[in-house]
Amino acid sequence: MPHDTQALDDTDDAILLGQVAEGAEQAFVAFYRRRSDDVFRFAYAMAKSSSVAHDVTQEVFLNVLENAGRFDARKGSARAWLFGCARHVVLDRLRLESRWTAELPEGAAESSTDCRNEEHVLTAQRIGRLHAAIAELPVEYREALVLCELQELSYAETAGVLDCPIGTVRSRLHRARALLTAALGATEPDPAAARMLETSEVCP
């Protein structure tokens, strides 16, 4: 996204949050429509669960309704502030959840209907394994990876969200990638076996 557009978005977000703090409901609705996808995707990437992402999104915007007045544009972007809120809600939710119900990886559904394209199927499986491996990362590595790699926040923004130095973000990111590489290497299926598995599937 061009820098100017990003700055314009940040300004708009800050204005909307100011209006929300003053009780403007339309501003709240507009802010939800602008930023709810970001929150939903972040929560989904962290928890790998659509239902959790739904709940977290609602909870985060309830927090926005309550705490919009606390946002200070001089200390960071509205998007980063929102991710900070989302992070707290997700972490609370992760702590509360005693067990997770693994959902069908998104790629899995596609693999059963698009088995004509073996490359596509293998890619979808790899991405499914990657997301599963991310969900297994220790939470401090996971949130750094999700914010930087998947939500494309800068190191500085991520440091603001995580309330830690930029160097810590870098090291957590490095560690997260190393853990992912190791985990994916350990679970990498034998290509020949994968091909056999694919050919045994019934094409619709």
Binding site: A24, L62, G84, I127
Partner: protein, 193 residues
């Protein structure tokens, strides 16, 4: 040397997979605003006459809200505010509702007080929401539990914490009633979240 090449290949492949996952995530969308419980919360705020709040007083911080330590005086103030709201609602024509159900709440002409059985069981009456469609005896309703910030419900000093409430939602998706005062109402101080 081969290890370095393998490491670079792994890193490159991981980067490509992360990019693919990022693209996949971009296809996800949050539920539309109307399909969340947020419109009902806004309606409840209007119903309870929550005045537009002023921006939070300085010092403000860009840090996201964090859980706070429980403070007894604040808790007492919050509890008093909730009790006041419940009492205020009680003087309005209440509607019977016996817990989460899909049947419409029974409604006498002009509203009826909760039965003795309901009072005894601790089930609270649903209160009609202002500007909401009335209860229909032939309609079916869902009960949706939401958590509402106390600060959204009462004016005056800023209150921490949330309270759980049940919303009576019709088939059209619009909330028609709300109830706070029941034995299963849960006050959640901000510090415990």
């Amino acid at each position: 040397m081969n290890d370095e090449i393998d490491g670079a290949e792994c890193d490159e492949r991981l980067g490509a997979d992360l990019a693919a996952l990022r693209e996949r995530l971009r296809g996800l969308q949050a539920p539309p605003f109307e399909e969340t419980g947020l419109p009902a919360v806004l309606r409840a705020r209007s119903r309870l006459g929550a005045a537009p709040r002023e921006a939070a007083p300085p010092p403000v911080t860009a840090s996201p809200p964090t859980p706070r330590r429980w403070r007894a005086p604040l808790a007492a103030a919050a509890a008093a505010a909730v009790a006041a709201i419940a009492a205020l609602l009680a003087v309005r024509s209440p509607v019977e509702q016996a817990g989460p159900a899909v049947r419409p709440p029974s409604l006498d002409a002009g509203g009826a007080a909760p039965s003795g059985a309901d009072r005894g069981s601790g089930a609270a009456a649903f209160q009609p929401l202002m500007y909401a469609p009335g209860f229909s005896p032939s309609g079916s309703y869902s009960v949706v539990r939401v958590r509402i910030p106390l600060s959204a419900l009462a004016q005056g000093p800023r209150l921490e914490g949330t309270i759980e409430a049940d919303l009576l939602v019709g088939e059209d998706g619009l909330a028609s009633g709300i109830r706070f005062a029941s034995t299963d109402t849960l006050f959640v101080p901000a510090g415990s979240r």
